[in-house]
């Protein structure tokens, strides 16, 4: 198999496998009703998954060595406070990201761990 056709096979395979995971529930529950238990937790899934996605963003944080996740925690607390206060999504997101970039690029919190 040539390099190009191997590559195209791989791309097609990964594309199909990815689409399968996304389409599975729609195909499965296309012609039948989802079980009652599932439909009751259905609306509790988005809040849970969103918070899990946030926790997932912290998966590579080294909690037990400096800076002990301080830039991440500090940024998340700031974004939360700003958002509860102003309720302006764009402001909260971009001010928070700018803050985080400052904190890590200039190692601002390093004084805490002298």
């Amino acid at each position: 198999m040539s390099e190009t056709s191997y590559m195209l096979m791989v791309i097609a395979t990964v594309a199909l496998a990815t689409f399968a995971t996304r389409a599975l529930p729609f195909v499965f529950f296309n012609s039948r009703e989802p079980p009652e238990l599932l439909s009751t937790i259905e609306k509790n899934l988005p809040p849970m998954i969103l918070l899990l996605l946030l926790i997932y963003c912290l998966k590579d944080v080294q909690w037990f060595q400096p800076p002990y996740g301080a830039p991440e925690i500090f940024t998340i607390v700031s974004v939360t406070a700003l958002h509860v206060w102003k309720r302006n999504a764009m402001l909260s997101i971009f001010a928070g990201t700018g803050l985080y970039m400052l904190l890590i690029q200039f190692d601002v919190l390093s004084f805490l761990f002298g």
Partner: protein, 245 residues
Amino acid sequence: MNHESEKLFLSALRTTLPVFFGYIPLGIAFGFLLAGAGYHWIYALVMSIFIYTGAGQFIAVALLAAGAQLMDFVTVTLLINLRHSFYGLSLLDKFSGVGKVKPYLIFALTDETYALLTTTRVPEGASKARFYFYISALDHLYWIVGSVLGAVLGSMLRLNLEGLTFVLAALFVVLTIEQYYASRTRFPFMAAIGAGVISLMLFSPENMLLFSIVIGTLILMVHEKITKRGHADLPDTEIYPKEEK
């Protein structure tokens, strides 16, 4: 485009702006990786158009570099992306009646697009199908542009973008808070913290998301079963829609 759909498009554009700032650097990083592994930028374009998944594409490059078998690509991709099946479960209702864009919406259901679709309200009087399509297609476009940019520029670009991808974490913070205000029960958040902390401790970083979603869903189901049994003689309050504020 007429005036109405132009307004709707701009609204979708504003909604997806944080994803733009997340997907462009992430896409660039993917492009760098693929170019670094010796592949032409055209593959970045093809992969990002047809595969369109963040972690999955990064891992595909790693498997390519290792010369893996096709079966390995299937297994790894299914495991990495199985979480998407849970996303669809909570969108069965939302996606019913969106018409011919439905297959595309399902195809383009990434973490970030899921987050936006489940939290953003469709503007008053606008078409849900159109709005969802704009959001999904814009996010897709950002990913494509970012990855091609990264593959073309290779390591020529020397911008210090360190930390920019935290924009996605900030997006999830804001969307979680919005869900908190909109949700009548606090239990999903407690379930998430429990499942998240357990998974952080027990599983490797690349596996934790799927496992945490599975554990969290189980917690929700058990909780639902227990509270249901406890209130078997009471009318089911769940069937009365909450007053919208």
